[in-house]
Symmetry: C2
Amino acid sequence: MASIKPSVPKGTRDFSPTEMVKRNYIFDTIKSVFRKYGYQQIETPTMENLSTLTGKYGDEGDKLIFKVLDSGDYVTKIKKQYDVFIPVLNKLINKAYRAANIPGNEPDYHYWISIGNRYEIVKQNWIAQKIDLAQAISELDIKLEDLNITGYELGLDSKSLTLDISEKALRYDLTVPFARYVVQHQNEITFPFKRFQVQPVWRADRPQRGRYREFYQCDADVVGSDSLLNEAEFVMIYDEALSKLGLKDFSIKINNRKILSGIAQIIDKADNIIDLTVAIDKLDKIGLDGVIKELLERGFTEADIDKIKPVILLEGSNTEKLQSLRQALASSEVGLKGCDEIETVFGYIEKCPLQTAKLELDITLARGLNYYTGAIFEVKTNEVVMGSIGGGGRYDDLTGMFGLKGLTGVGISFGADRIYDVLEELNLFPAAANQSTQVLICNFDKEGELYGLPLLQQLRHQNINAELYPAGAKIKKQMEYANNKNIPYTVVIGSEEIQSGLLAFKNMETGEQEKLSVENIVKRMVG
Amino acid sequence: MASIKPSVPKGTRDFSPTEMVKRNYIFDTIKSVFRKYGYQQIETPTMENLSTLTGKYGDEGDKLIFKVLDSGDYVTKIKKQYDVFIPVLNKLINKAYRAANIPGNEPDYHYWISIGNRYEIVKQNWIAQKIDLAQAISELDIKLEDLNITGYELGLDSKSLTLDISEKALRYDLTVPFARYVVQHQNEITFPFKRFQVQPVWRADRPQRGRYREFYQCDADVVGSDSLLNEAEFVMIYDEALSKLGLKDFSIKINNRKILSGIAQIIDKADNIIDLTVAIDKLDKIGLDGVIKELLERGFTEADIDKIKPVILLEGSNTEKLQSLRQALASSEVGLKGCDEIETVFGYIEKCPLQTAKLELDITLARGLNYYTGAIFEVKTNEVVMGSIGGGGRYDDLTGMFGLKGLTGVGISFGADRIYDVLEELNLFPAAANQSTQVLICNFDKEGELYGLPLLQQLRHQNINAELYPAGAKIKKQMEYANNKNIPYTVVIGSEEIQSGLLAFKNMETGEQEKLSVENIVKRMVG
């Protein structure tokens, strides 16, 4: 076997033991909160039928789906029609003409095989000029090997070829597989169905800092309940999970699509809601003047802007904002409905005060507008400069794409990779003693190794993660092993220790060392 | 969007909440034992470079690897040479001839473009017969649409096309990615490196009962230590994990490749070791007579069989078997080395008696012989008819395929899907209260819902998984929800309950019902 310099595909990552402990800590924390709120875990296959995924993420999204080649002799599935070869034939004849130094090889002359009358032209031309095509082609023949044709020149195009040779694709997110799951298993499911799912997804994006081609998503959704209690509980879930992870200052921003619709309605531009929200979404970055400039560019009038301005510049507490909003949206039924919904969510949360999070009504929040029909969420930490660490919202008719109408859904997602970076930067990962080895039993020789075995077993019976270093290595190497693995305690067994029955027990952090019996070592570790 | 009947690709599975709880139980149990023995978790990407995987699993294995289509406009990477089109041209001309009812279209006549002299033949033929090819082709033209060419006729073949359009593939097992990981990260790793990994793998096998195209592997390996303590610890890991899972009667079979080499050596047929082991591996199924018949067919002599027979028919305790084996293999150095190794492993285990497992020396055990160089393991339950639920062994030079020589490895794998089926059949899955909702708070209306919120929060503060059913549903529906989700307790809040402050607390299993204050409900649940 040839030696290959090993690497992973770009945009993908190995996770080392240290990273795994930290990742597990994040996922386990979030999962435990999901469970506490009654969410149940499901898993869906890595591969979905390509037809399940295409058309759900827009044209750009479709391109970013990783397709899996059909197994077996898939080329037999490629179907092409004859006429795609005409350009290839043209090229061949062109080359033959050139080889024979024959002028006049305009494109028309080369359609000698496709269409009756064009064939005629070529034929007459050919016979009239007495071209020694035989010679031309025999010269050409020598060069055939050099002449490669790409699949593109062959008339293949990637998009339609993919349909011939790929039936399956890698999951692009967890929402579409969840919708597929709900429709497929609708008869086994009790609604409202509260599910969570923590699995990797794949996107053929250009990899860059913080953006990977394989990354975990961490989603909870409820389907089949239009109660706003669900929205309120998602706010609590964010609050509880991120508080548990040690975050001390973060904001949960909430908005409602209906409020955005209301704003478009009061200026009589319901059709321009996308333009409107794209512009005001930038308030943070470009300020009010920037937003106004952009609105004017997008065809809004000064009169429109006068009406919108107070809405964009909402200030004060959430209650004050809602009050102003109600006044501004007084003429829009849908806008007032949005205010009602937000108020109901706030009402639930008043009954269950949040631990840490600041809950903020933010009418500039629009993420994935086309998708969401009610509440929209986004979570940001205020301790570190970082994009949003969570988001979600309500989407009516989640399962309509698979033929099951009228099921409303609302869900949230945690950005696990970003949360990882935040915890790392704030030094919030706990010592992970419970996941790694706690004692290493070292020895000078086979005798010490065998002497250590019963101690090893006693420790493990007490559920202490313990290791015995195999005989034959220098003590220095064994200690290095303990250090590199961050093992907090070591026991050294030499001939003296065996004779006395008192083993050298060392706290690797403090360097403190004692002589202890097997019994006392076990007690100390269980302690 | 068109409505699609939703399904998953064949050989893949959705896992429902109930299944996930059970699967998590198995994986968590095994992981906790791995950790207790000092193994650390890693994860590798789902996709590996195709070059990392090909050539590691044999030709048949290579075919079963799922390849991922390159993203972007991959057809431009397809490179074909002109001469592959000759059959296509032939076909075209044939069709033209047929359309014009011209006889004499033997294959030779159609090489009009490729080679000089063959072109001549066609040309003369053509001119001599005054074929109205123009007409032929114009008739042909009408039928062009019907005439499809497959990729195969186009001269493409799946194997070489794959190399053009696929750089990545799905992980086929965890061992090769682990070897790649070790070589890639060798400078960050402390050896001996004890790692475990629990991730799905994919194989384009024909799906059948119990065989899936996506399934989890659950592996522990240590690399960089030739100590037989590792082998002994794997026996203990199997024993502890399977005992924890509730199995009461299972066998861990152990063999050693060196013993098999020794047997081949004493009959002077070291080169026929594969034939030998394939035959004696069948002892269970076809009995001694069958094995002898097969050995004779495979070219072994009666004299060979006389020498082998006592080895195959070893009986008694492991110690007795080893004794007989030593006598039989007295003339084979490598055979005796194998006996020494097995004896050392047994020696370690004597110091740490097993909880449940029967440890059996089984010299007919050969699994993956080409791979293993020392110990070979296999685990079977004796309670249920089922294939092996675990296996593994030592393989010297694990990382040689990636250019890092001289690192020996030994590892085991748990067959999670089979273990699942065994626990299901023996009814060994525990009630999963800690993973699912423990209380459902039901209500008659909005007032009851709001009244229930503080109780909900108090329960969750006590780490009780609890849910509040959103207002607006009939009590019957809420109770059904509790039943379907196996929620053991419910609280019902009506106007009477709100007035009295005593809520209806119900044990869903016994049907027993009491009136309790919020405080007492919390106390009862924390219990």
